[in-house]
Every structure is written in C-alpha cells, then in structure tokens.
Amino acid sequence: MNTDVEDLLRDGMERYTADLRAPAGLIGRVTQRRRRRLLLRSATGATAVLAAGAAALAVAVGPGARQGGADTTAYVVKQVDSALSAADPGDIAQMTVTTSGTATPFGTGVSTGAATGAATGAATTTEEWSYGDQWRSVTYSSAGHPVYDEGFSASSVYTLVSYRARTWVRESGLGQPGASLSFSASSGCGLPVGAVAFLFRSGLPGIGKHVGSLPETVARAARAAVSCGTLTVAGHQRVDGVDAIKLTSRADSPISETIWVSPGTYLPLRLVIRSGAGSPPGQLTADISWLAPTAQNLANLTVPIPAGFRKVSLSAAVTPILALIPGVPLPRTFGALVPGLSGLKTFCPAPAGPSATARPTFPAPAVRPPATPRLVFSCPKR
C-alpha cells in the first residue's frame, strides 16, 4: 500500500496541475507589483530603503503629489478589495463594536447597541460575527450584561433572545440573501457618507432597515467602502502591535471614517467612525478579527437559547428592545417599508421636525418581503 499511495499521490498531483500554465508576462506583473510596493513605501515614509534603480519610481508622494498619492491609494484599495473578496465568505469576521459619546455618528437607527448606549451616553459594546449570509450580534449593556442576542442562520432563520425579558423568538421567512451592495470605483458610488456605516446597521427587525434584508457582512461592507473611492491612504499607525496602513475618508465627508488594514493581509483590523462637524459627538470603534471557519468558530454564529427563557411572538420579542432606543424613526409597519429606502433614511442626516414615534406592527411571517432592490446611496435634497 505504501508505494501505491505514493504513486497515487504523485499521479494526483500531476493530474491536478497538468493544465496549469504560468501567466504570460510574469516578469511584467512582478515588476509592476514591485513598483507599486515601492510607491506605497514612499508614501508611508519608508523611502530610505528604495534601491537606486527605483529612484525614478519613488515620486514625491507628499502633499501636492496628487498622482503618486492617487496611485498609492488605488493600490492599497485594490489589495484591500481583493483581500476582502477572498475573505467573504472564507473567513468569519468577528467584530467588537464599542460605542461612546452621546450620539451615534449617524443619527439614529444604525446600531441598536449604539443607540441604547446613546440614551445614556455610556459606552456600550456589541459583538458581531458574520460569515457568508450568516450573522450574529450580541449587544451588551454598559455594565457588560447581555441585553439581547440575535442572528440569521444559513437557512435565513432569524433568532432573537432578549435577556431582559427572558424571551426568545425564532422566525423563518424574514431573511433572504444579503442586501446587495453593488459598488465599484468605475461606476461611481455617489456616497454622501461612507459605506462603512453599513457595518453598524442592526439586523433587528423594524430599525431603519427592511425586515427581509440581512445586515451587511463586515467583508462586504468594508469592501464596498474601499471600492467607492472615498478613502485615501494616510500613512501607517500601530494597531495592536501591527504597523497598519491607515485609510481615511475625505475631509468633506459628513462622517469621519478611518480604516486600519494589515500591511500583510490587507484585511481591516479596526474601523472608527466619528460624527461630522456640527453633530453631537459620537464614535463607533470596531476591532475586527478574521477567523478560520473551524467548527468552534462557526459555533459563534448560532444564537443559543438560554434555559428557562420563554418563547414569544416576534413582535413581543422585538418591541421591548425597540423601546430601549429613543428617537428611532421607526416604520409604521414592516409591510410599508420601501426596500432600500429604509437604509437611506438611516444614513442621511436626520431631517428637522418631529420624528416618527409609532412602534412597528408585524406582518404575518408567511408574507415574504420582496427582493431588496439595488440601494441608492444619496441623500434627498432638502
């Protein structure tokens, strides 16, 4: 058997690789890659190591060196985009969101964890996991106790556990494949604010989001953000011991976004979103870990039902949680939600005037919402 297995393995490797050919112009690709790397180094202050032969490539990328800076940003963004593309759904994104300040940076309805904290000004924490179309979020109080735990399974079954009410609900037919964020740098995103904010959209039915659309995964939302051209490279900074590449939003953005990506993997390590000028101070910080889809890590995507908790209807489970969130412009009914536009409301500055205070009513679970159309990211003119 020994020789047999060795021969079979050899044959298998031969057969698996038989059709592989090295790409044409390998040297050209490598040279281009090296050139871009040098440009990145020059942009981030490591110009001292440039070889003499590359001096011509090491264009000044300081203020005013627009072309070089744009190239560098484009390269980093492309790498981040590729890394996130590979990570979705390959990796489980584990995100710990800490909220501080008296308001969320986006008005209301973005993160229920943020919003519940905003009511008191205390910092709150939400821990999230996303993997493909699976998603789970546990929101903790400022004292560190779980408030509620919710998630969508791979089969689009929504589960919500309320720790305060000691209730739980599980509903199918609410979820559908994640809201499509179709961004590309070439098509132009026209974002008034960065798409990173989508990370903090709650999946809680009734909060500024169509009940049938899943929360955006970290990988998809961050990918959308970086491919929109709203971020530029702003040097390096240490994040948890890593000399991370810092990407920041444009100065004229109504929300300040900063993403730190690993220089090795180009996956985001930390996201920070701050209120823009003229808004109440608020900040969301998300520390991201990218986990292998092991059985142990995948188990984090499942919402556990604690013993002794009572099963209730969806509305009975959700409403007490919504009541914790002040000033959320809730839809009158889920059925009345216009898919996509609910997200729009979330991210545009809150309009003047009284906000809706009506609590949502819930459609019969059997009513499946229509497919979420492509979202339009622009604020209405006022």
Partner: protein, 177 residues
C-alpha cells in the same frame, strides 16, 4: 565575484521553469490564485537580487515558495485555503461513495495536512527531491523530513483504506486504477 545576470537571462529562465514552479506553488497553497500570488512574490524576491544572484535560481525559488507557504504567507490566502480545505473535507465525505478518483481525494487531503508536511510531500513526490535535498530546501534535518513524510503518508493511507472499505461496501471493485 559572479558576473551580473541580464534580464533576458531571467526571462529565459522563467520561460523554461515558471510552469513547473507555478504547479509547485499551487500544490503548496491549494488554489491557482493563491499559487500565482505566491509565485509572484517569490519571483519578485529573486528579481530584486537577480543581477548579482549567484546560485541555482530554481532552487532559490523553490525554497522561497516553501518558506512563504509554511510561514503563513498572507493570512487571507490561508483562510481561502482553509475554506477550501473545509469544502474539500465535506465533499470528500460526500464523494467517497461516488465516482471521485482516489488520486483526487489524496490531493485534496494534501491540503488538509499541516504546511510543513504538505511541503515535504510536494517536494518529495512532485519535485522528486531526495530526503537530503528536501531537508536543504526546508532548512531542517533529514530526520524531520522523513518523519513529516511518514506522518503525511500515514494520513493518506488511512484515507486509502477508508476508500477501499467504502468501495467494498458499495460493491465498487477496483475503482483505483
């Protein structure tokens, strides 16, 4: 001191050996995309020192590929690979009663092995290096190579035995060529 090498010489070398090196890289990483990425990184390193490079370029690239692959080159690539492994494992359990050839199953199993074991098996059975040559590439002792190869093959033998058992229980005789 060695004479400086020309770019044309480098291109000639790659034209001759790049296909084989790409296959090595793909076997080390488990996917074409990751393999190409790995090869480009290794070629870039060689290109940096090519003009004054004095040695066997293929050996250098092979060593670089293995080092990068075993040192956890690019986390995203690793996750991609792990995902692939997970899928491979799942499909393996499904396909084991189907028509998947044992040879394909063994290659998929290769990607489930630890990086060092995988590199040893690729170098031994794909590049057909001796234990001593493999040890030199990986910078370890020959005994380490032998034990890694032994453990990797043992895992493959288990698979082959399971395969035989399943084939027997399913009435498939002599699926393996």
């Amino acid at each position: 001191m060695a004479a400086e090498r020309s770019t044309a010489e480098f291109e000639g070398f790659l034209a001759e050996r790049a296909d084989h090196l790409l296959r090595t890289a793909v076997l080390l990483t488990g996917s074409r995309e990751a393999g190409e990425d790995l090869l480009q990184t290794a070629v870039e390193r060689l290109l940096r020192r090519w003009r004054r490079f004095d040695g066997d370029p293929e050996g250098y690239l092979r060593r670089t590929l293995c080092n990068l692959a075993t040192d956890g080159y690019r986390r995203a690539g690793r996750w991609r690979q792990k995902e692939r492994l997970l899928r491979g494992e799942l499909s393996l359990s499904r396909d084991v009663t189907g028509d998947v050839d044992l040879r394909d199953a063994l290659v998929r199993l290769l990607w489930q092995l630890p990086a060092r074991q995988r590199a040893v098996l690729v170098l031994r059975y794909w590049d057909q290096l001796t234990d001593a040559e493999t040890a030199a590439v990986l910078g370890c002792a020959e005994g380490t190579v032998r034990s890694a190869a032994s453990r990797g093959l043992a895992r493959m033998r288990e698979l082959a035995d399971e395969w035989d058992d399943t084939a027997a229980s399913c009435g498939r005789n002599g699926k393996r060529a």
